[in-house]
């Protein structure tokens, strides 16, 4: 397991670089262990995830104490946070806020963060196999999490390290948040391969980020589609390019012509570019496009990773249908409250992805759409039905439709108070409000059985 100490000289080498400060693997392990000394094993630990050293120590400390880390969005409103506390009753809470949380006592400091302990000990025991729980979406008031086992996370991390050909000379950077499984996976891979990890809380459009990339000779960059749209406009310096070895993209569909642009660009600089596909439920990786096939397979999300297989639910298992993934990294199941954390694996290694697509003669997957009403907003899965049902508490006369990076709320004639809707939305979503547009329409289309006609509305308004 990547979080365990290894009897290797490598554990004395640099692991985390935070601003100018460097920590070896051993130092990170020792510091985490010290913070978690008195924490009981098999505790559930809710961690406010920032891209900083305190979050890293909290995460590793939890894993090393055989406890279950639950990383959540740093900007989560106090209201959403208290819902999670109520539903999951985490035994510990690690948060920047030093205000009192109901049912929790301040316990001690972890750097800039505060460690709180639950007042009344939980009697509900966590399932022995459970390792991490991860929120699934940015939908409002949604407490749905994925239950990831030790086997899930260790197998998938090894598999990713292998296809990205990572060794201890690589240098990655925190370009994505830790409460997002793709971001966490980048960190896990650094730890598994005993390579370096630079902590930056800047985004791709900030000079600080690129200064860190250049100064620390970063070799690996990871991004979601909107970051690549930005990257196309930025002139990456020659110095940065000379250090880069691997650039990978996941978290949603990148326009094929943009994929082609990056494949050509990075290939000409001898840098491997990977298109990857996954789901939180697959902890998170399902498939990748080997760089040498990238040009030939533009538009495809690649072949399954080496611990799994992929087929469609069509009769011949290849033609257009729902993509099904089978592998050791398919999560144990979902959770909505503490109760489900006691449960065993219900998926048995099989994941119905909800994505529709086909598989070509070489085994490459192409995604053509989604079965359910989910869209990706800046890499986060958002359930349109969930938003719609929440908003219908305010008015029935609306419909929610969307596509990648856009949620469109269609508002019928009978309701005019957009501000009330906006206020409700702002308080309850975990993705940028700008992805939401509200449009007044004369009629909300319905079909003959009086159900909302999404196909017709998508065609007209998206």
């Amino acid at each position: 397991m990547f979080w365990k100490s290894r009897a290797s000289k490598l554990d004395a080498e640099t692991f985390v670089i935070d601003k100018k400060k460097k920590y070896s693997f051993k130092q990170i392990f020792d510091l985490s262990d010290r913070y978690f000394k008195e924490v009981e094993s098999r505790s559930l630990i809710l961690i406010q995830a920032d891209r900083d050293i305190d979050t890293i120590l909290s995460y590793i400390g939890s894993l090393r104490k055989d406890s279950v880390p639950f990383l959540v969005d740093s900007n989560l409103s106090i209201k959403s946070l208290s819902i999670l506390l109520e539903k999951y009753k985490p035994d510990y809470l690690i948060h920047k806020n030093n205000q009192k949380f109901k049912n929790y006592d301040f316990y001690k400091k972890i750097g800039k963060k505060n460690f709180f302990k639950i007042k009344k000990k939980n009697l509900i025991k966590l399932n022995d196999k459970l390792c991490i729980i991860m929120p699934t979406s940015g939908s409002m008031g949604d407490t749905k999490c994925v239950r990831i086992s030790k086997d899930n996370i260790t197998y998938v991390t090894k598999s990713i390290v292998k296809y990205l050909m990572m060794d201890n000379y690589r240098v990655s950077i925190s370009s994505l948040p830790f409460n997002y499984i793709y971001g966490l996976s980048v960190f896990n891979c650094s730890l598994e391969s005993r390579s370096k990890f630079v902590v930056s809380n800047s985004s791709w459009i900030e000079r600080n980020f690129w200064n860190d990339v250049e100064f620390h000779k970063v070799t690996d960059l990871s991004g979601v589609p909107f970051m690549f749209q930005t990257l196309k406009r930025l002139n990456i310096s020659k110095k940065i390019l000379s250090n880069l070895k691997c650039v990978n993209q996941a978290g949603g569909r990148l326009e094929p012509n943009l994929t082609e642009f990056f494949v050509d660009f990075f290939q000409s600089k001898n840098i491997n570019f990977y298109t990857m596909y996954g789901a939180t439920e697959a902890s998170p990786r399902i498939s990748f496009v080997p760089p040498e096939k990238a040009k030939e397979k533009i538009g495809s999300v690649g072949i399954p990773i080496d611990i799994g297989k992929v087929y469609t639910d069509n009769n011949d298992k290849k033609s257009l249908g729902e993509i099904i993934y089978e592998g050791k990294n398919v999560c144990m199941g979902y959770a909505f409250t503490r109760h489900e954390l006691t449960l065993n694996d219900v998926n048995k290694g099989i994941l119905k992805t909800g994505d529709v697509g086909y598989i070509d003669k070489d085994g490459y997957i192409t995604i053509t759409g989604r079965k359910k009403r989910f869209v990706k907003i800046y890499g986060i899965s958002v359930n349109l039905d969930k938003i719609e049902s929440e908003l219908k508490k305010i008015t029935e006369d609306l419909a929610v439709i969307g596509k990648d990076d856009l949620i469109l709320i269609l508002l019928g004639n009978s309701f005019k108070n957009q501000n009330e809707l906006k206020k409700e939305l702002k308080n309850n979503i975990n993705f940028p409000f700008r992805a939401i547009k509200i449009k007044n329409v004369s009629t909300i289309y319905k079909n003959s059985s009086n159900k909302l006609d999404y196909a017709r509305m998508n065609k007209k308004f998206l």
Partner: protein
């Protein structure tokens, strides 16, 4: 509409803010809407409105409502 009006309108529309919020305190990450995605939306809107193509350095250094006016001067846009 003057260039200043156009400039202000873009900020108000992209970030959904009021005119009285257009001041020296308005800068990158000073409000929730002006994050990295909001920044690129702002850049795209300015480029479209003034028919210019911003350089990478200017995109990265476009840090505040006021300094943005200086940036646009480089492109012969007087606000």
């Amino acid at each position: 509409m003057s260039n200043k009006d156009k400039y202000d309108k873009i900020f108000m529309e992209v970030f959904e803010i009021a005119h009285n919020q257009l001041n020296k305190d308005l800068k990158y990450q000073s409000i929730e809407a002006w994050d990295s995605v909001g920044h690129m939306t702002l850049m795209a809107a300015l480029e479209e409105e003034f028919d210019i193509q911003l350089e990478m350095d200017d995109i990265i250094d476009f840090g505040t409502y006021y300094t943005g006016i200086e940036t646009l001067k480089k492109y012969s846009i007087d606000i």
